[in-house]
Point group: C3
């Protein structure tokens, strides 16, 4: 099991003091900041009984908790099991995939509660949180999980924590620009989560380019069991995506509609993914990489428009296209990006999040621009796009323009932010693995000996008992 | 890895143009049909704000979304993770089990939305869909997943898509006959889903009988890890079955009661399954096949009656019986069906769905026939059986008779439909695998080399590095 | 595969008549007792329509089902998938972990419905059950799953059923003392579930001490895949713990708040677990045992206080501490307990449930004692602690005292009960495995040959085809 053969830098990966220090200091910082700033919002505070009176509510069921908690839990599963297990496909990086995802997400949601809180839930010097904040924190961390997909297997846990710190910060800024300044709709985050997260991650991995990565090429694939584990991630992402895209939509029809549209888009996406996976392979066989990833592109691509009157057939069309785009991306674009642009994208997030995210932004802009009072009804029209207050005079086509602007802002923020953070992560102090140790749990984890067979074949004279 | 030894038909399994063609054409057809027919129902449409006024609703929480969405998601998990992983038990067919299930279900829900929509949600030339339609589409596809269990490992993905097309169609017709013409109650689908799906699948596998299947006998078992994966499927089916049986029941007590009854039945079923699994094995050891499957029979068998006043102890009795029936079926009936009736039932759906489905239909008929105004209350009695309009004069015993008729209709539709579809699937154009390639992912999937050990034992001189 | 070498007692483990007898007799007893006692409560009964009128409810959404069913399902997943898969970490005990957990929980929930029903839902000679009873039954069984963790791999299924019978009984008594006599708050069960369950299990394993357990030492570890399976358990427990701690809290703000506090505590706990896991390992590597277990301690430790005004930063502090305590426990305390106190704690429940449970009880007592009308509001103050009726005059500090008393009662009940039940389980009639067969599925399960490789390397002349 001894490994540090011809590399002096293997020492770098010694985490014993650095990782604990970062974790403990940052968690203490969280406690202090939460202590100063974070309180319950009126729906979670013990004064709710009185608040109910103030709002003329007759029942506890009107508490936002009951509108959103089931969706929150679905989103929560997507972040921790969905993203975590989707990345377990690597044969010897299962601990890192699911474990580091767990770590960065657990830190990220705390920091996101603060960052998003300062921008959106800040009242009288306090951040007031409720279930919607928890969902938004999970969303924000989702964009970090996406970026993690690009650099999977090539970074130390400290690098991941550093990236999380910066990415969450930039996410919150970008989200503020889009939602508050541009007054853009993006409930499922095609722009704020997917476009931003993916291009951020792609830029980071570009900066961290490893010319000699082929040294660990043999570990960059899957084995039979790891592909099955990854399907757990895929299916939970696929099944719960309707909850993701509807989780923070307006109560009532918007949540309802967002779930239906997403369900439709995802269903169509599976069919075209299978079609192109088979078509693009010489022997016509299906490739698990496509089934695990491209089937999800349909959910990404209706992230902006699902709560709008996209209609079920509109959703099918979006899903249809995205299954194709994403699968083609895996076959042709990923190798191209690696060889020509030096973008080493472990999980192919360019195909699953970047391109479908852009498509999602565009579909959202078009759907918004095409909105009419006739289709939405008078109240529905105003409610759907929040054309109230200073936005009273916005027309659908202007809204469409702002939506389109949101795509570019997200893209720019992602690329600039990714370049900055990539440069920071390149500093030789974070303990990243050597090229030949990438995609290998053994560097950062106690890995059990695979002595399974020993148990049953104890008399095998060739194999000594494990220590 | 080269396999096509003494079989010229191995060529048949080449999917490269056939599978993409079917997927793409059918998906385009879906888009066209959705474009013509499918719209949002008033609770998912942007006019909801107005609709609320029309219905005198004061809160968005009255939107059906909040009554049914959590159950919908549970059902969704059952279809994709539950059925998908339950079938991963085969040692070399995990990709096919979870992947083909994914494919057929993704297509099936779209076609089901249309078929069921035409029968049940058709207004002014449009199918109006909401969350209940999504649940029903999942239910309909559930019956296809069941049938898939019988032919698991022996069919091509195209055959599965063809079967899905026909089975969903026939399901919708049968469901229409039962629910609308016979006015039968079957919220959890003992008859419409399980009896129909199982006998349909058994008939299909009978028609597709392979006399030389023992050529792939060595692959028709499980390995340690695949049994653990299958337990994921089992447990999600078992845990969420209360949601399945209550998902489309009337709001309020019916949903509540259906969940409780199902919970009780399933609990009892585990105990008798364990008892008989141990009792019927010479050494008294437990058999994973039974634990994975027979424990679920209790859920199937209260599918009709769970929303009725079956009572918790009634549910325990049903679960008690079904654990026994199902386990005994696995031990004695499955081999008998194969050797004598030439029914090769890969997953033993006869024991998990067919017999418990019939029992469920019978229990439903009895429970309905035994209903009294005293037990249900006056309003409850009418509401539970929908004794309104043209059914105002129905008595419980008449209802029981119609329920019983529903069993026979489902059985006949299943057998006739299965025979027809089996004959279609027998055509030599769908690319089914040769006998010696059954239960083998390698035929339709890119399968990674299992080189796991190589990673750690790189210096092993006997094993060359994988390509 | 033949194993019974030098042990005549191997015969003991023959389950063929004993296990079926226990399962069948007990299930019949359940049916009889349910028949005599268990009925639906008014919200699940068909008279609900009338009951709605009596209670002046205008909508079915006011049915408790809609307040609690999503949380119930999350708790259900925690018990069956969470605990079940968390214990799959052992390399050759996956079937036993997930299968026996399934068995004991399925029996336990029935017996818990009765025991808890007699204490809490007994009216006019009947136990009236609804969704809250299902949650409480799952909770009760949770304490048995915890105790199972201590004796994992060392007992027969009959012993587990016997333990379940007694532990559920004692749980219900202890719960009655705490909730009804001491009028203590413990919605998430730091005391009733975790402290009680863990010390009960630790006492049982102490009584069942096996001096020669090192004979099966080689099987007491994990392999790569089993650690990944265990992470499924970990993540579902971690993600759904907010539902666990809020599932039976009062409607409205209490449920909302409990979920937020738990979410915060768990997030902080991950960071300190990672920190100390790395810090306490010589090479600074992370240990999967810690990630799988200690990350959950934060959920345990806010089980009493989560529904109180613990505040988000208070929750972070609790989680921060518990990640440390739990990880340190795994490294130093578990070996100490084994070598000095002869407590063989397979899963380390002392670190995950016992110590965090005690901390949870203490935090709850302090939080209750620190409550003020100012913080809770007048109505909130009374509602949060149910200071009504005979408890009208209780002050926070008195409540804090009673909370503290609850910890000691739970501890005493657990130790006394565990000693008693341990003595019963020590009787040589239950078929427990010999020391060298512990942690080995082969004793009680039909285990498939691991011939996976055979499928692909059929021509290997050294390995004969499996029978």
């Amino acid at each position: 099991m001894e490994r540090p053969r011809h590399q002096g830098m293997a020492k770098n990966t010694y985490m014993r003091w650095r990782l604990p220090l970062v974790c403990l200091l940052w968690e203490v910082a969280m406690i202090v900041l939460f202590g100063v700033f974070v309180r319950f919002n009126p729906e979670a505070d013990a004064h709710w009984e009185k608040e109910k009176g103030n709002r003329n509510l007759t029942s506890d069921i009107e508490n936002d908790f009951y509108f959103r908690y089931p969706s929150f839990q679905d989103v929560h599963v997507m972040i921790f099991v969905g993203f975590g297990f989707l990345m377990v496909f690597l044969k010897r990086y299962g601990f890192g995939a699911v474990g580091f995802n767990f770590l960065l997400a657990a830190f990220g949601i705390q920091w996101a509660l603060l960052m998003q809180g300062w921008f959106h839930s800040f009242e009288n010097g306090k951040i007031l949180i409720g279930v919607e904040n928890l969902i938004n924190a999970d969303f924000c961390v989702g964009s970090v999980c996406i970026a993690f997909g690009a650099i999977l297997g090539k970074t130390s846990p400290i690098q991941l924590l550093v990236m999380t710190l910066f990415q969450v910060t930039l996410f919150a800024v970008n989200e503020y620009i889009l939602l508050n300044l541009l007054h853009v709709k993006d409930a499922g985050g095609s722009m704020t989560i997917h476009t931003f997260g993916a291009y951020f991650g792609l830029m980071v991995t570009r900066i961290l380019y490893r010319p000699n990565l082929e040294q660990s090429k043999d570990k960059q694939g899957s084995v039979y069991q790891s592909d099955l584990f990854a399907m757990i991630g895929t299916l939970y992402l696929w099944m719960y995506w309707p909850s993701f895209n509807s989780a923070i939509s307006e109560h009532g029809d918007a949540q309802h509609r967002a779930a239906i549209n997403t369900y439709c888009s995802l269903a169509a996406c599976v069919l075209t993914t299978v079609a192109f996976s088979s078509m693009l392979q010489k022997k016509g066989k299906l490739d698990m990489v496509h089934i695990q990833n491209a089937t999800l592109a349909g959910g990404v691509a209706v992230g902006t428009s699902a709560e709008m009157m996209l209609t079920p057939y509109g959703s099918l069309i979006v899903g249809f296209i995205c299954g194709i785009v994403s699968t083609v991306g895996y076959v042709y674009l990923t190798p191209f990006l690696e060889s020509r642009l030096h973008i080493q994208d472990t999980c192919g997030i360019h195909n699953l999040h970047a391109m479908p995210g852009l498509i999602g932004g565009i579909v959202g802009a078009i759907t918004a621009a095409a909105a009419t009072v006739d289709v939405y009804g008078e109240e529905g029209f105003i409610k759907a796009f929040d054309f109230t207050g200073p936005y009273k005079t916005r027309t659908p086509s202007i809204q469409g323009g702002f939506q389109a602007a949101g795509i570019f802002v997200s893209l720019l923020m992602a690329l600039a932010g990714g370049a900055l953070v990539g440069a920071i992560l390149k500093l030789p102090i974070w303990g990243d693995p050597a090229d030949e140790n990438c995609f290998e749990d053994d560097v950062y984890w106690e890995v059990p000996e695979d002595e399974e067979s020993d148990v049953y074949h104890m008399h095998n004279p060739d194999k000594p008992a494990s220590p």
